[in-house]
Symmetry: C2
Subunit: 361 residues, 2 copies
Amino acid sequence: MTTTIVFAPDELARQLNVILQAWGMPPDQSQSTVDIMMYADLRGIESHGLMMLPLYDDFRRAGRLNMAPTVKTVRDRGATVLIDGDGGLGHYPSQLAMRAAIQKASSLGVGVASVRNSNHYGPAGAYAGMAAEHGLLGLSVSAVYRPGIVPTGGKVPMLGTNPIALAAPAKRNQMFSLDMSTSTAAVGKIKLAKLHSKPLPSGWAVDEQGAPITDADEGLRIRYLTPLGSNPVLSSHKGYGLATMVEVLSTVLSGSSFAPTRDRLRPGVSSMDVGHFFMAIDPSFFREPGEFEDDMDALMEALRLTPAIDPAKPVQVAGDPEHREFQKRSAHGVPVATDLVEMLRQLAKASSADFFLEAIA
Amino acid sequence: MTTTIVFAPDELARQLNVILQAWGMPPDQSQSTVDIMMYADLRGIESHGLMMLPLYDDFRRAGRLNMAPTVKTVRDRGATVLIDGDGGLGHYPSQLAMRAAIQKASSLGVGVASVRNSNHYGPAGAYAGMAAEHGLLGLSVSAVYRPGIVPTGGKVPMLGTNPIALAAPAKRNQMFSLDMSTSTAAVGKIKLAKLHSKPLPSGWAVDEQGAPITDADEGLRIRYLTPLGSNPVLSSHKGYGLATMVEVLSTVLSGSSFAPTRDRLRPGVSSMDVGHFFMAIDPSFFREPGEFEDDMDALMEALRLTPAIDPAKPVQVAGDPEHREFQKRSAHGVPVATDLVEMLRQLAKASSADFFLEAIA
């Protein structure tokens, strides 16, 4: 088992900010990036928060991540916006994009914003949630910098774990917040199995011949993931189709690179050139004020009242576990595994940034 | 095994038209409905074509289907449209809705149309495909008149098999066309197993205690379906989340009924009150002319070239099997199972409609 150290959310955010700025990121962009990373770490979505920093460090050292990008709106017409991320991290341009989509939706009922030439953008649900905070329906999907999902019938990964997030506001309830990768299991779950020295359930990962593997080390090393559905009999073609849908909306619509052919087909492009998609819809264009939120409450409450197989484990609605974790961590601090704390210390040291984190528990 | 009789597509369409009109449907609406039914039967999506007629007949006899609805645009503002189906079948208002979304997208880059107080609308892919035929990205999702999917951890179905369809145009290739239910297996596949007296694969259907069942008769009788993912270990909460996402976009946004609470919460509503969602996006608002289609070709061709586990079974892209079937059936006719032909004959007779179908093979 791993031991953890608990930090105050504000202190953790300040530490992440200092590191990103030591890497050359302008303060407004680093604040924006840290907001999204903390969204993840406050909700127990560890795989998309500070745990990503070493990878970002690898990218920038390899010259594939622009730490001081000039993010530009390159098109703005009707209900649509296209933003160029200039090869930087995705968090900052993605917040601009969702804000633009929200603004469009407020005047036209719907807004779509697309981001090209970006990189990892953290948890998709953070952007969908921005719209729901404004009383709108929010949707975000994104391509990923490397392929992980093996198409049904194939032997090598071609699509990222391409997430889908939808958020919708309610009144009595916390917002509905779906945020899922289109693979059977996220990479984070495989890391967790490895961390706890447990075998992988059959159906999460495959080897180079397409056969299921259950060794967590092997699974993480090869990193060939099944699409949601897991195998052809249980309709993995649907998960594969969803991952492709996300690729179309993120990569093809924005004019970004398709990861498996990026380095071959776009030799002049040094960035990871990832694309994202954002949409906001204003329910007040369809319903009388308050009706949408009332019906969201009714829907979520009806689902939670579904008779449960195990009465001690009531049926949940997308977002429930993350809302609970957010309450807890906001009040009592964010637990960080000791090896991740050490990683932060090393990253700070390597870039001559202050390291000042102190445990609160 | 079942025997089939092959009919010319035009004749089959004419026969369906005559029956729907004998039921009181105005000719423009019946033509529109038959176009969508034939979309299904020409592509091998039998479960959503003429096979649905007996259910439509049940609905109308039970007073839950308005055969001569006054379909009205009740809202039209910005990039959004809301259409009321007046308790009729979904095919006709849904075509109006997708046409409205296409028109909005042509001037504003994106259009969203919502349909309320509707019923079954056939294959979701038909509407997404309308947008792709116009060079646009098309998306459609829909609620279903009855619950079929059991939420993860629950014992009774709460959500319809809520389909998701996305279509995107290409140049050298037929359009990308994803059309999938959010259950592991569609009801049609269970009917097929029963027809061929085969057991159901474990993981498609469950009994009233939430345990997997493999008896096809039982599976079809109980009709409790697992969400895509099939079980908690293989992430059925994702399929459940997707089905809920579809319910939010279809039911809550349009102001339609949530099927499990419809008859209790909306006692004045005699129709099935199903909601649908349609979106069109014009790629020319994001890319230079032709770039989107070129990249769709590149994406689809790269996916088909994924090294295959079995070289005799190349990797496919969503829509490939349906495109092949369409070519075949357009040229050689539509095979219809003999018991379905008999069903058509009986339906025609019961409503004093001509029955004139003659086999071409």
